[in-house]
Symmetry: C2
Subunit: 196 residues, 2 copies
Amino acid sequence: MGSSDVASPPTEGSEAPTAAQARIIAAALDLFARYGVGGTSLQMIADEIGVTKAAVYHQYRTKDEIVVAAAEAELATLDAVVATAESEPSRKRARDALVSGIVDLAIDRRRTVGTLLNDPVIGGFFVDHERFRDVMHRLQRLLIGDDAGPQASVRTAMLIAAISGAVMHPFVVDLDDEVLRAELLRLARRFLGLPG
Amino acid sequence: MGSSDVASPPTEGSEAPTAAQARIIAAALDLFARYGVGGTSLQMIADEIGVTKAAVYHQYRTKDEIVVAAAEAELATLDAVVATAESEPSRKRARDALVSGIVDLAIDRRRTVGTLLNDPVIGGFFVDHERFRDVMHRLQRLLIGDDAGPQASVRTAMLIAAISGAVMHPFVVDLDDEVLRAELLRLARRFLGLPG
DNA sequence: GTCTATAGTGCGATAGAC
DNA sequence: GTCTATCGCACTATAGAC
């Protein structure tokens, strides 16, 4: 719990990356978190994994494709967390698994998540992204139930934003992972009106 | 309520911008929100206000200075909201004024706030920024009281992240301002354990 | 799958006239 | 406070050898 592999299983969606592509995506995500999407160049990505720009271009034809692939890879990990929660036997257990899964994921990706979610380029890309909307709707359904509507959407968006934004916030940047995890979980559950 | 001037009064901190500087800052904030900090060039800022790059350089010597000035301008508006709340006669009224003030600010800057707060460059800049920490501490004091500690910090960071992140979230991007405002206020108050 | 080499563009930044 | 003009550099992207 807390190390780096949350794994993106062969869920449906975009095709699985090759080993070379996975290295590019991992480097890109790390650099995006440090310098932002617009502040990261192909040269930096190439340097990070120790190859030339041309080698990177062999895998992805444009920088945009790398950004998309990186965003979709992160979405896949969230999808996996949602899918795991969905396989729980009861509604109550599913909801508990989802909340703690999201908190774990946010702590694990502490300096990555918020940057991706709040980057205007990626945000614009996700607005009409089918799988993104699907994952968010399934997430909402587990958290709140079948009653949709704007209120449920705001509640879902707020919880995601609260968790993914809080881990990066300059105000808690010094805080230990475990302290942050415990407190996030407690507050997230309270936000949802759950005991604990 | 909800239009564009929340105003940055002559609070202490960095010196007030001139008219030309204010135009640059406004253009920069708008472009940062659309393309990210790293994705915004001086040429884009110059074009946006209809001057040349050299004119922009006359006001700020580097791009970094523009980023800092823009971030500090936004911090000043938050400072003003906190200061207004602090002038309320009772603790209860101060807290209410603060929560609704922050929600109003987030709605007003709907496509601006989150980008700034979550940009890694600006985040790194704010970590050791004196005024930022001061504003956050005052904010925390109004929200939670004098008991400090990690739990209070996480709670504060989470509320700020929830509000500023939710307004930008792709999942609620289609929602009407007023619907979003009402729901955010309701949920924010609930998060704090307030009636309403 | 990786390399060298290079085309073409836009960047941040500066000098100096008005 | 704004302009024209320019420097040097890093960028995205491509071609072609290994």
